[in-house]
Symmetry: C2
Subunit: 168 residues, 2 copies
């Protein structure tokens, strides 16, 4: 698929985290959704702290070069409790955003409830329900694991349905 | 100064933030400290949100290429209250860390009280006291402004004094 092909879009869903960053890539053509790849970038805890963010950046940059997505769908992060956790999540999120914008890829943002509703019809769906519906919608031979990857695919599916909330 | 010159070190102090990222570059040779440059990267609020982080990344990367620091000193960020603020600060911090590690520059981390104590002798010094002592220690013709830049210079001075707390 190329960017000149206006009917098709390739979407990269991203669920960034310090230890695990879920990703899911789908091709969208009208109602037809095809999973291209999904998984997660795991950064070992044994790695020096600052190098973990570089590893996330480099792995994501490589993924973006490999799959050349047209758009990125990322989760709106609401962190209600622990500010130190928020700081860490923010660091991974900042790194992911720069990796995408460096390649001039548009980023769209969806709240977790919007992404859940897009795939299950229920904004409060469980992780298992999201996982099951992602499998069905993408006709995957098995449940997409881990949850971080399933969530990333859900974000990509959500974006394929609605592109109203354009952040950039 | 080159990295092969073992007596001299160039330190880049960084105080990352979403709107303003302070920086301060000093050359250290024994007790002699010389300010090379300082200031701040300001990202306009009018800029699309995700592009702000790319702007911080690109400006910092340019600064690193221009001044070729040997080491980076960054503030340990403690965010006690607002998790949403912590998320934003984390994003800027993650971006700054990747900009430095991408160039293989070692990063050292100091708490605000350690940095304040290093320049004023008092871990609870005010921003004005830090600013005044940074001016004296670096023999600057005027007070370093804004506070973000003075804080960044204080971090660089702190690192020149003590390199015990090696994070990486």
């Amino acid at each position: 698929m190329t960017k000149s092909d206006s009917k098709k879009r390739r979407v990269l869903g991203l669920d960034p985290g310090t230890a695990v960053t879920g990703y899911g890539i789908i091709d969208c053509e009208g109602q037809i959704l095809v999973a291209v790849d999904y998984g997660c970038i795991r950064v070992p805890c044994s790695m020096p702290i600052f190098d973990r963010y570089l590893a996330i950046f480099e792995n994501l940059s490589e993924l973006i070069v490999t799959y050349a997505p047209d758009e990125v769908a990322i989760e709106t992060q609401f962190v209600k409790k622990n500010p130190q956790s928020a700081l860490k999540v923010g660091m991974a999120r900042g790194v992911a955003i720069v990796a995408a914008r460096k390649k001039e890829i548009l980023i769209f943002e969806y709240s977790p409830s919007v992404a859940k509703r897009a795939v299950t019809g229920n904004g409060s769906a469980s992780k298992q329900q999201v996982q099951g519906m992602v499998q069905r919608l993408l006709k995957l031979p098995k449940l997409p694991t881990p949850y971080d990857a399933a969530d990333a695919l859900a974000l990509a599916i959500c974006h394929s349905h609605q592109t109203k909330k354009i952040i950039l």
